[in-house]
């Protein structure tokens, strides 16, 4: 994401962000990722997990599931916009919480579509919760912090650096049961989230658009287990496979749900 901006553009944008005032009435809770997810993390998860996260919103903690990240480029094509909205609507219809990074483009579409479809959404920010980046998403972030959930690993007062967004992507992979990359470019920030999703052993899906862009990373990710999604029927099938209802099983065995 950041590699697309010149240093000058980035500094200008960050100055604009710094100027934004913050309503101090937000109830921000500090907790460990383990408390957020309601379970201990295994060693693979702990490797890049932040020590604490800051959370604001109405979604209960520990987080309910399933949760799927819908992410992509800041500059989507017409097809990318359409696909992101359709994927998100399908996830909401199936009771999945939509996770994204509140960036411009695909992330914004995912959050807005989830809200408009009556679903729940979680924004994982690369800035502290009192910053609004991009500034135009301030109303959306405020709505999410009030009615849904925003999560940041950065305390208020933290000065944002470009690498914070890479760490944010890893955190987003950690709190998502699966990730879907809708559309992205050569150096898009979502690439780091894709690799982290695979490292965590979680399903990573690439929307078919990514195959037509002469990119080398989707091919590499497919080699390591990423799966191409060709249509919404496949998405339905995937949701059935990933998140089957287990209520019947719990009552029979002695194992309780994690």
């Amino acid at each position: 994401m950041w590699s697309m901006l010149t240093k000058e553009m980035m500094e200008k944008e960050m100055r604009r962000v710094e100027k934004s005032s913050f309503k101090n009435s937000w109830a921000i809770k500090e907790m460990t990722p383990s408390e957020l997810l309601g379970r201990p993390l295994n060693d693979v998860e702990r490797k890049y997990a932040p020590k604490v996260v800051y959370v604001s919103g109405r979604i209960r903690i520990p987080l309910p599931g399933p949760r799927v990240a819908v992410i992509g480029t800041r500059n989507p094509s017409h097809e990318g916009i359409y696909a992101a909205a359709a994927i998100t609507r399908k996830l909401v219809e199936r009771g999945v919480i939509v996770v994204s990074g509140l960036a411009r483009g695909i992330d914004t579409i995912a959050h807005k579509t989830a809200i408009n479809a009556g679903g729940k959404t979680i924004a994982v920010l690369g800035t502290p919760l009192n910053k609004f980046y991009p500034a135009e998403n301030r109303p959306l972030q405020e709505l999410i912090m009030k009615e849904h959930m925003a999560i940041s690993q950065y305390p208020i007062g933290h000065k944002t650096k470009p690498k914070d967004f890479v760490f944010r992507n890893r955190t987003m992979a950690l709190i998502s049961d699966a990730s879907i990359i809708v559309e992205a470019g050569k150096t898009s920030g979502v690439v780091s989230q894709g690799w982290e999703t695979l490292r965590l052993g979680r399903p990573l899906f690439l929307w078919k658009l990514l195959l037509n862009k002469n990119l080398d990373w989707p091919e590499k990710m497919i080699k390591y287990g990423a799966i191409i999604l060709n249509d919404l029927d496949e998405l339905n099938y995937v949701i059935d496979d990933l998140f089957p209802s287990i209520e019947g099983v719990i009552s029979i065995g002695e194992v309780e749900a994690p």
Partner: protein
């Protein structure tokens, strides 16, 4: 199933909260299952984790390795990474039935990457998280048999699919059985 695939914690009344891999190993060493599997596992056995459907990067989560590792901690054998996936194959759970990898596909997409000191007494136990028909086990067993023809090869999966609802007796229902390769269809029959 997701708890096993992601090695997430599971709470049980008997063992408290443990990661799935640890819980599986503890169950196998606890009454009555230790007796049920008494002749199956042993400290001198070699536990070979079955590769995932795609090559994996170092440090990535590998459920069958974690289960094998937890079994080693319970003195059920020694873990050796012997087979690796070199070419990705479709994930069985997500592929339509006619596109699921066959035992031959598995065999051709895996490679034996380490040597083992094998004696006639050596038992190799392939370890996997989930078994459906046994195609992955069969392909992996062929790889091992070619590299170590004198070794006895068995397989263990932490969870099995049950297609007939009437056969489902509960989440904890260990069984022993056979996987038979059918040459004419290039597939396997698992019983039970």
């Amino acid at each position: 199933m997701r708890a096993i695939k992601n090695d997430l914690p599971i709470r049980t009344s008997r063992f408290g909260e443990l990661f799935a891999s640890e819980l599986i190993a503890k169950f196998l060493k606890a009454d009555p299952w230790e007796i049920f599997f008494a002749d199956y596992f042993g400290e001198d056995n070699i536990l070979v984790p079955v590769p995932r459907s795609s090559p994996i990067r170092k440090e990535a989560l590998w459920p069958s390795f974690r289960i094998a590792w937890a079994m080693e901690q319970q003195k059920m054998g020694k873990v050796k990474v012997v087979i690796e996936r070199v070419i990705p194959v479709a994930k069985s759970s997500l592929a339509p039935p006619d596109q699921r990898p066959t035992p031959t596909n598995h065999y051709e997409s895996m490679a034996v990457t380490s040597k083992l000191n094998i004696s006639p007494q050596t038992k190799i136990i392939l370890v996997d998280d989930i078994i459906t028909r046994g195609h992955t086990f069969m392909g992996a067993a062929w790889c091992l048999k070619r590299a170590f023809p004198e070794a006895e090869i068995k397989a263990f999966a932490a969870m099995r699919t049950v297609s007939n609802e009437a056969e489902f007796k509960g989440l904890i229902d260990p069984v022993r059985g056979q996987i038979t390769y059918r040459h004419e269809f290039d597939d396997c029959l698992r019983r039970p």
